[in-house]
C-alpha cells in the first residue's frame, strides 16, 4: 500500500529552565514523544489512542510543521516536513484545539474565506469552496452569523470546515469530538467516515476508545510518548483474548477492600472508579481464568459485606488492551 505519512524514530524533548536567585539554572528535560515510528497508508483512518498527556498533540504538531522534532524524520506524501515545511503544509488540513482555533468575532463564512486565502485559494475559489463546505456541514443557515454565539459543536464544525478549505489529501484531527454532546459527536463521526469514502487519509487522535474503535482502520496506542501497540482494532482486542474482563458494580465497600482483589491468583489488573451519582464502585477486573475465578471474586466481595449490584463478563475493548498493557485506565 502507498504511504501517506511516514514517521521515522521521531522524538520531541522539551526543556524547561528553573531559575532561582543565586543558584545555577537547572535545565529539565521532558520527553513528550520518545522514539516513535509508524506509517499511515493512503485512504485509511489511522487512530492515535492514548490518555491525556501521552504526546498525541505534540506528534500532530510535528507532522504539521508547527513543532520541530528533536530527532527523526517525518514525510507527508513523500515531502520532508522539516526541510520543506510550506510545501508539506499544502497537503495537510488540520484541526487543533477545536473551537478555539477559529475567530469568534468573525462569521462562519468569513472564517472559511480567510483561511482559504491563507491556503492559497483565489477569491472566487475561496468563496465557492466556503459555500460548498458550509452547505455540507449543515451550517448554511448560520453562515453569516458571528461564531461567538455558536454552540461548541457548531464551532467545532467551523474549525473542521477551515481544515477542509484547501481540499488537502491528508487530514489531521486532534480530538475532534472533545467537549461535544453525544449527538454532535455521532454526527461528526459520520462526516469523518464520509471523508474516508472520498479517499482522504485521516489521522485522528482521541482518548475515547469507542471512537478509535468505531472509526479507525488501524489504531496506535500511545502512552508516555511511546507507541505500545499498533494494529487493526479487532486484532488488538484479539491479542488479549486470553484475558477476560469482568465488570462489577459494588456498593458499601472501600478502595482498600477492592485492592485486596489483586491478591487473588490469576487476577491481572483491578481498576476502580467511584461513581459519585450512584455512590457505587465500578470495578474492572482482568483475569486469565474463565469460570472458577468468578466465584472466587464474588465470594471475596460478599465476605466483606459489600453489596454487588451488577456483574458483567465482557468482550475486551480497546480500553482493556490499554489496561492490559499499562496497568492503568485511559481516563485519568
Amino acid at each position: 500500500m502507498e504511504k501517506a505519512i511516514e514517521i521515522r524514530d521521531v522524538k520531541k524533548y522539551f526543556y524547561s529552565k528553573k531559575r532561582a536567585l543565586f543558584k545555577k539554572t537547572e535545565v529539565k528535560e521532558f520527553k513528550a514523544v520518545d522514539g516513535v515510528s509508524f506509517d499511515i497508508y493512503k485512504g485509511e483512518i489511522f487512530g492515535l489512542l492514548g490518555p491525556n498527556g501521552a504526546g498525541k498533540t505534540t506528534l500532530i504538531k510535528m507532522i504539521t510543521g508547527l513543532l520541530l522534532p528533536t530527532e527523526g524524520n517525518i514525510l507527508v506524501l513523500g515531502i520532508d516536513v522539516v526541510k520543506e515545511t510550506i510545501k508539506a503544509q499544502r497537503n495537510i488540513g488540520t484541526v487543533l484545539a477545536g473551537d478555539r482555533s477559529i475567530y469568534w468575532k468573525l462569521t462562519a463564512r468569513e472564517n472559511l474565506e480567510y483561511f482559504g486565502a491563507l491556503y492559497g485559494l483565489k477569491r472566487k475559489e475561496a468563496k465557492e469552496r466556503a459555500e460548498m463546505i458550509l452547505e455540507r456541514l449543515g451550517l448554511s443557515e448560520k453562515a453569516d452569523q458571528i461564531v461567538e454565539k455558536f454552540s461548541t459543536g457548531m464551532k467545532q464544525k467551523v474549525a473542521l470546515g477551515k481544515a477542509l478549505m484547501p481540499n488537502a489529501p491528508v487530514l489531521l484531527l486532534d480530538e475532534p469530538t472533545l467537549g461535544l454532546d453525544p449527538q454532535s459527536a455521532i454526527n461528526l463521526r459520520e462526516i469523518i467516515l464520509e471523508f474516508k469514502r472520498e479517499g482522504k487519509t485521516i489521522l485522528l487522535t482521541t482518548h475515547y476508545m469507542e471512537e478509535a474503535d468505531f472509526l479507525s482502520d488501524r489504531v496506535a496506542i500511545i502512552d508516555s510518548g511511546k507507541i505500545i501497540a499498533l494494529d487493526k482494532p479487532d486484532n488488538l482486542k484479539k491479542s488479549i483474548n486470553e484475558v477476560k474482563t469482568m465488570k462489577l458494580e459494588i456498593m458499601g465497600t472501600s478502595y482498600e477492600t477492592i485492592e485486596g482483589l489483586k491478591e487473588l491468583e490469576k487476577v491481572e489488573n483491578v481498576l476502580t472508579h467511584y461513581n459519585q451519582q450512584r455512590r457505587t464502585f465500578e470495578v474492572t477486573i482482568h483475569h486469565e481464568d474463565g469460570e472458577s475465578i468468578v466465584h472466587e471474586i464474588l465470594d471475596y466481595v460478599l465476605k466483606k459485606k459489600a453489596k454487588v449490584l451488577n456483574v458483567n463478563v465482557e468482550e475486551p475493548s480497546l480500553e482493556d488492551v490499554f489496561i492490559h498493557l499499562t496497568g492503568k485506565s485511559l481516563r485519568e
Binding site: T58, G65, L66, L68, Q89, T94, A97, S101, K105, G120
Partner: protein, 274 residues
C-alpha cells in the same frame, strides 16, 4: 502575489473585526484632543500668570507656535504608541485567543502574516492623525503650514520606523511572554527620549546620544519643520533622511528578530495559548 493576498486577507479580517465593535471610535475623537492638553496646560502653568515664561520656551523651541509644537510631538507619539500597543501585542493576542496556530498551519511565509498584521495599526494611526489635525485646527485654532504632498512625505518617512518597531515588539512579546514589563519600560524611555514636547538638546548629553538612535526623534523634528514652521522639504532633508534611514534599519531588525523568534517557538512549542 500569494504574499499580497495573505497580507490583504489578514488586514481585511482585522479591520472587519474592529468595525464590528465600534466603541473604539470614541477614542479616535477624544484622544487626539486630550493627550496634548496635559502638556499644553502644564506649559501654561509654568509660564506664569501673564505667560511671560513662554517666550523662553519659544526661544528654546524655535517657534512662536508652542501649541503646534506640542501637538505635532504628541501626534507622532500617538501613532507610535498605537502601533506599539496594537501591532506590538498582535501575535500575543492571537496566541491568547488560540488562533495563532491556525495561521501558522497555513502554507504561507509567516512573515506575510506579520506584515498584514501591521496594516490595521497604520490605518488607525492615520485616522488618529487626520482627526487630530482637523480638531486642532477647529478647536485649538492651530495654523498648519506646508502642503498635502509634504505631509504625505512626512508620513512616508515615519512609516518604516513605526512598522519596524511594531514588528520588533510583536516578535519579542511572542517569544518571551514575560517581557511585557520590559516592553512597558522601553515605551516610557522612548517617550522621554524622542522629545515629544521639548527639543532634545535640553536633555543631558548621554540622553541626546541615545535619542539619535530613534527615527522618531528626527521624524518629529521633520514634522514640526514642515507642519508648523513653514520650512521646505529641502530645509529639513537631514531629518527626513535620518528618520527614513533609521526606520529602514528598524524594519530590517524587525524582520530578523521575527525570523529568529519563528524558529525558536518551533523548538519550544510556545505558539499555543500558555
Amino acid at each position: 502575489m500569494q504574499s499580497l493576498r495573505v497580507i490583504f486577507a489578514v488586514a481585511k479580517k482585522d479591520i472587519a473585526t474592529l468595525f464590528r465593535y465600534p466603541t473604539w471610535f470614541i477614542s479616535v475623537i477624544i484622544w487626539p484632543l486630550i493627550f496634548p492638553l496635559l502638556y499644553i496646560l502644564t506649559s501654561f502653568a509654568y509660564a506664569g500668570p501673564d505667560r511671560r515664561g513662554l517666550t523662553v520656551f519659544q526661544r528654546v523651541a524655535g517657534t512662536e507656535n508652542i501649541m503646534g509644537y506640542i501637538i505635532i510631538g504628541t501626534m507622532v507619539w500617538m501613532a507610535v504608541n498605537i502601533t506599539m500597543w496594537n501591532y506590538g501585542g498582535y501575535l500575543r493576542e492571537e496566541q491568547l485567543r488560540g488562533t495563532l496556530e491556525s495561521n501558522w498551519l497555513c502554507p504561507v511565509n509567516k512573515f506575510s502574516i506579520l506584515l498584514g498584521a501591521g496594516i490595521l495599526s497604520m490605518v488607525l494611526s492615520i485616522m488618529f492623525s487626520l482627526v487630530g489635525i482637523i480638531e486642532y485646527r477647529l478647536i485649538y485654532g492651530i495654523k498648519f503650514t506646508g502642503n498635502l504632498f509634504e505631509w504625505i512625505i512626512v508620513f512616508l518617512i515615519l512609516f518604516p520606523g513605526v512598522y519596524g518597531l511594531g514588528m520588533i515588539f510583536a516578535s519579542l512579546i511572542l517569544w518571551a511572554k514575560e517581557v511585557n514589563a520590559a516592553v512597558n519600560v522601553a515605551r516610557g524611555i522612548m517617550m522621554i527620549l524622542c522629545g515629544i514636547t521639548y527639543p532634545i538638546y535640553i536633555m543631558p548629553n548621554w540622553m541626546q546620544f541615545l535619542a539619535k538612535f530613534l527615527p522618531f526623534t528626527f521624524g518629529i523634528q521633520a514634522a514640526r519643520d514642515i507642519l508648523i514652521m513653514d520650512k521646505t522639504l529641502v530645509e529639513t532633508v537631514y531629518n527626513l533622511i535620518l528618520c527614513l534611514g533609521e526606520g529602514v534599519i528598524f524594519l530590517v531588525l524587525g524582520m530578523f528578530i521575527f525570523k529568529s523568534v519563528e524558529k525558536r517557538v518551533k523548538i519550544s512549542g510556545s505558539l499555543e495559548r500558555f
